[in-house]
């Protein structure tokens, strides 16, 4: 592509620097208003009414008691349950009705007063029972669905060429998103116009979703999400049953309504990462090439949802076969969860990688390098593995099984990742410069907690020669224009080009205003260090404030949009983990994690590093702690809370070193997903290296670690 004035600058005093979050003070002081904080005059509080049973027929629903409860203004069914097949609830937490009342307490009391008669039906929550045919037939069309098989090369020849063959069964568990802020909405109607404050990863999508479901024009819907406490994919695809019920209750009650879910509802009904398991047989040649990879995989994404994942993950295998089964269970449906499929694919692939490497006495880093795709700007694993190994002290790694005396064993593991993270339009941005020197950058994106406002301020400030604090980012409102959902690590790459284009155009307009006063050609001017000045003669110039005085009463405005060439796609990453394992208690402690990760042009270095920290911690939770535990008899979730649904606290988090590998020439690439792919496998492999036993199933509970130790060495 030809050079353009919109191209990212070769040098910048702002882009890629360490800029504190521009909204940090608002967040820590409570000035930042999340959906939960929105209160409207005369607002009601709503509560969902849900099935306590994993599978049941709703025989009758009597809402009359609820309508007579104190403070109740409206009670509505989610749908008509009067006839088959709409009268079945398919998981614990399945939505049935909702109630709005004057206080939260009244809403809860009223919800509990609704009389629902159920015919409890046989349920299926245990995947193995579905696979071995001992489960009741629950799902029309079968409990188990074949996924798309994949074949390449010649498996028989591949195994014939193998010096060694390894077989094993690997699995990862269902985990839930567990956002700090629960799902929720505040809805307010004015006639047939709806304003909705909603904790969502996509305000544009939410507008479309509300409008189509409620039968009103999108033009009548305004959606706001100024701040949100995490989504991880669970708030990406729709406003959910609770969002629609909030709007319907507000309409019926003719009053604003707030409906926020509680933690139990979050665990049961707002998505999860599906389980993923595989039975793998793989062969390796004496010189370290994977000759064959034969996998049968399965997983559950809940009631009628699939559970696919890439297998083998990332490595090149010429001869391979893969079959897959999606198992439907009476549990809440999966939703995209940070790097959908990749953490599962990574774990199911990476464990056998070390087993194969051990078979031929090859170092795991060297073995990986032999089986990775050829190096390219979007395939940098070889370089990162070598560089990471040197920094991490990989040469101090002992062979499988720590031989030092005492119960505390130390080990290291490594794992690689990839993700797309590309950008796309339309993603318009609008820039205003007013005569008082204020710069507004306005766009209809949202910040799911990654620091989007800071990114907006950094790019704008860079283009205008200002400091990020001098820019006023305005986001989180559909009145600001359309934008893509914040999912799949696409936000930064989608919005960054338009921001720069709008800022550069606005600056061009400003240059035209001040050039006559300076007696120079506008094209000779640049913005730098808070001044507008002639590029090679800074004395011919003026301060930003003085320059803006030339703007006049009508602010400068300029529009930008996504442009090809300013963003790119596909990242590479590698992670190293070190653990200690207490072999007398089964307790695993992660002591160090090293992250090597690229994301193209780094816009905001602190938020990029922050994505890596968060990704590592999330994956550590996946490795050690998180597990949706269902009672095997009733199918009900036993830990729908944050007491027994375990998440790392401060003392469980290791030292994390992040090395962002700059690739400025590639333009902006998203970074949300990739850092959470690899850590779990690296930890499990570090445990294997420490103990000498292979951990093939997550999470790595003390019970599993001690059980594996008891069963024998790798």
């Amino acid at each position: 592509m030809a050079n353009s004035e919109f191209d990212w600058p070769a040098k910048s005093s702002v882009l890629g620097t360490r800029v504190n979050r521009v909204d940090g003070p608002d967040k820590v002081t409570g000035r930042a208003k999340y959906t939960f904080d929105i209160n409207r005059p005369g607002m009601l509080y709503a509560r969902m009414i849900r099935s306590p049973h994993p599978h049941a027929r709703v025989v009758s629903v009597d809402l009359s008691s609820a309508t007579r409860m104190p403070g109740v203004k409206s009670v509505l069914m989610v749908r008509d349950f009067s006839s088959a097949p709409n009268n079945r609830v398919m998981f614990q937490g399945d939505e049935i009705a909702a109630v709005a009342a004057d206080t939260e307490e009244h809403a809860i009391d009223a919800a509990r007063s609704v009389k629902i008669e159920y015919e409890v039906l046989p349920h299926l929550t245990i995947v193995n029972k579905a696979l071995d045919g001992t489960a009741p037939p629950v799902f029309t069309g079968g409990n188990v669905r074949d996924g798309r098989p994949a074949q390449a090369g010649d498996l028989t020849a591949g195994f014939a060429a193998a010096a060694k063959v390894v077989e094993g069964t690997y699995s990862t568990q269902v985990i839930t998103h567990t956002c700090m802020e629960s799902h929720g909405t505040v809805c307010e109607w004015a006639g047939d116009r709806l304003t909705a404050w909603i904790s969502t990863q996509g305000i544009s999508g939410a507008r479309e979703n509300f409008a189509s479901a409620l039968g009103i024009p999108q033009a009548n819907v305004r959606v706001l999400c100024q701040y949100m406490g995490g989504g991880f994919g669970s708030k990406a695809l729709s406003v959910g049953a609770e969002g629609l019920m909030c709007a319907k209750l507000a309409k019926a009650a003719n009053a604003p309504v707030k409906l926020m879910l509680d933690r139990k509802e979050e665990h049961l009904a707002t998505g999860n990462r599906p389980s993923a398991a595989s039975k793998i047989k793989a062969g390796v040649s004496a010189d370290g090439i994977i000759t064959a990879f034969d996998a049968q995989s399965w997983g559950t994404g809940g009631a009628g949802a699939t559970a696919d994942f890439p297998l083998p993950y990332l490595y090149q295998v010429a001869n391979r076969s893969r079959s897959h089964k999606n198992v439907f269970t009476n549990t809440g449906q999966q939703r995209p969860m940070r790097a959908p499929g990749h953490p599962q694919g990574s774990f199911n692939t990476e464990i056998i990688m070390d087993e194969l490497a051990d078979q031929i006495n090859m170092d795991p880093v060297e073995f990986r390098i032999k089986n990775l795709p050829p190096q390219a700007p979007n395939a940098m694993w070889r370089a990162y593995l070598q560089e990471g190994a040197a920094e991490f002290g990989w040469n101090k790694r002992h062979a499988t099984g720590d031989k030092t005396p005492g119960p505390i064993k130390t080990g290291m593991g490594v794992s690689v990742n990839t993700w797309g993270g590309g950008g796309r339009g339309p993603s318009p941005a609008h820039c205003e410069i007013t005569s008082d020197g204020v710069v507004i950058m306005r766009l209809g994106t949202q910040d799911l907690g990654t620091g989007t406002r800071t990114l907006v301020a950094v790019i704008t400030a860079d283009a205008l020669g200002l400091r990020p604090a001098q820019v006023r980012p305005e986001i989180g409102d559909t009145a600001f224009g359309v934008s893509a959902l914040s999912g799949g690590s696409t936000t930064a790459a989608s919005i960054s080009p338009g921001i720069r284009v709008a800022a550069v155009k606005a600056l061009d307009a400003l240059k035209e205003k001040v050039a006559p006063a300076l007696g120079v050609d506008a094209a000779s001017l640049v913005a730098a260090g808070g001044r507008i000045q002639v590029e090679n003669d800074p004395s011919k110039g003026m301060t930003w404030a003085d320059a803006c005085k030339h703007i006049g009463p009508q602010a400068i405005t300029a529009e930008g949009d996504w442009r090809a060439g300013m963003s790119s796609t596909t990242t590479s990453g590698a992670q190293f983990a070190e653990v200690t394992v207490d072999i007398e208690t089964g307790i695993v402690k992660v002591t160090r994690v090293l992250v090597l990760q690229d994301c193209g042009l780094v816009v905001s270095r602190l938020t990029a590093e922050s994505q890596c920290y968060g990704g590592v911690i999330g994956s550590l939770n996946f490795a050690l702690f998180e597990d949706r535990i269902l009672d095997r008899n009733t199918g009900q979730m036993l830990n729908p809370n944050m007491e027994w649904y375990l998440l790392a606290g401060m003392s469980d988090i290791p030292r994390i070193d992040v090395r962002i590998k700059d690739q400025p020439e590639r333009g902006v690439i998203g970074l949300g997903e990739p850092p959470t792919v690899s850590t779990a496998a690296a930890i499990a492999l570090a445990v294997r290296n420490a103990t000498g036993v292979t951990m093939r199933s997550l999470p790595l509970t003390p019970a599993k670690v001690l059980g594996a130790m008891r069963q024998g060495r790798a």
Binding site: P52, E105, G406, P407, I408, D582, E584, T585, G586, I587, K589, F625, I629, L630, D631, R632, N633, T634, Q636, L638, N639, P640, N641, E643, W644, L646, A648, G649, M650, S651, D652, T701, P702, A703, L706, G707
Partner: protein
């Protein structure tokens, strides 16, 4: 939660008068770290809450060579109390491991000792188990990875109190006050197995308050406390142990071994104590005593690993008591 009346008495007598002989009709409120969560989850639905924070003492006073601790004392104050830490280091060690700083700033001694089981069947409204007046324990045929390996049946909860274990080891007595006056109950008699009383975990009547913990003079004992937790931050122990040893030179003259989170009550192990007497503490003698401590363990379908964990906790507590470096 269900609507309730709130009573705020300023002395012990008024607080007791506000209670009720009927189970869970009126509940004393200390730091609320257990009760409020149960109320929010509809596990316990009292008609009346009696705030006992102003009615009960929250201080430590010397008593017959030992200490007398008010039940309203906060966990943070126990953990930081110089005399408690000097005279009963295992109690200080247990207190500092409880919950989080926020929880320790609220939670009280009385609440820690009398909190209800953390069993996930008990804590979920859907399961009407023995502890809620139901007719079964769901754990033996269900998910029991954190349940009892000793003393279980017909309920398999583990006792949730961290303080109860070292207090039992140090020979604490609890002062209970009720409408008929006060009684002093040794910790060893206070906690009750499910086969003795299925619904509740101790002898405290619904209209009684635990007002004080009375600790005798500790004597010349060395203590070791060891807790094994899945997470380092904010988690319940898988198993833990307090060990007190009085030495004659380097030989064990007598020992107390009490385990926590393994049984429906703080579990004293005479077998382990016996195994230690007359021995010099080494890795081997400690391991042998730890083996004795879990010899009678009867794990359920998913908690056999707890036997290993409990054994490790006892062994390491013994080694700590002997001043031997351990993991």
């Amino acid at each position: 939660m269900k609507a309730f009346a709130y009573v705020n008495p300023t002395n012990e007598k008024d607080a007791i008068a506000a209670l009720s002989p009927q189970l869970e009709q009126a509940m004393p409120l200390g730091g609320g770290q257990d009760l409020l969560a149960r109320m929010k989850d509809y596990v316990t639905q009292p008609d009346r809450i009696v705030n006992v924070k102003s009615a009960l003492e929250s201080t430590v006073t010397p008593s017959g060579g030992g200490l007398r601790i008010g039940a309203a004392m906060k966990m943070v104050d126990v953990a930081e109390h110089a005399e408690i830490r000097r005279m009963y280091p295992a109690i200080g060690a247990a207190a500092i491991e409880v919950g989080t700083p926020q929880i320790r700033n609220q939670a009280t001694v009385g609440g820690n000792l009398n909190q209800r089981p953390r069993c996930w069947y008990y804590r979920n409204e859907e399961f009407v188990c023995f502890k809620k007046g139901g007719d079964r324990c769901f754990s033996p045929a269900g998910e029991n990875q954190f349940h009892a390996i000793l003393g279980g049946g017909p309920s398999f909860i583990v006792h949730p109190s961290s303080l109860a274990v070292p207090m039992l080891a140090y020979g604490a007595t609890f002062r209970l006050a009720g409408p008929k006056g006060e009684r002093l109950v040794p910790a060893a008699d206070y906690f009750t197995l499910p086969r003795q009383s299925l619904r509740m975990e101790n002898v405290l009547a619904p209209d009684e308050l635990l007002t004080h913990v009375i600790l005798p003079a500790p004597g010349n004992v060395k203590s070791g406390h060891y807790e094994v937790r899945y997470k380092a931050s904010h988690d319940w122990p898988i198993a833990f142990a307090t060990v007190l040893i009085s030495f004659n030179g380097s030989t064990v003259q007598s020992a107390k071994v009490v385990m926590g989170a393994v049984a429906p009550i703080p579990w004293r192990s005479p077998e382990a104590e016996q195994a230690l007497v007359g021995k010099t503490i080494t890795e081997e003698t400690a391991a042998a005593a730890a083996e004795a401590a879990i010899r009678n363990a009867r794990p359920l379908s998913q908690n056999a690993y707890k036997v290993d964990v409990a054994k490790t906790a006892v062994k390491r507590a013994i080694l700590r008591a002997a001043g031997i470096q351990t993991a």
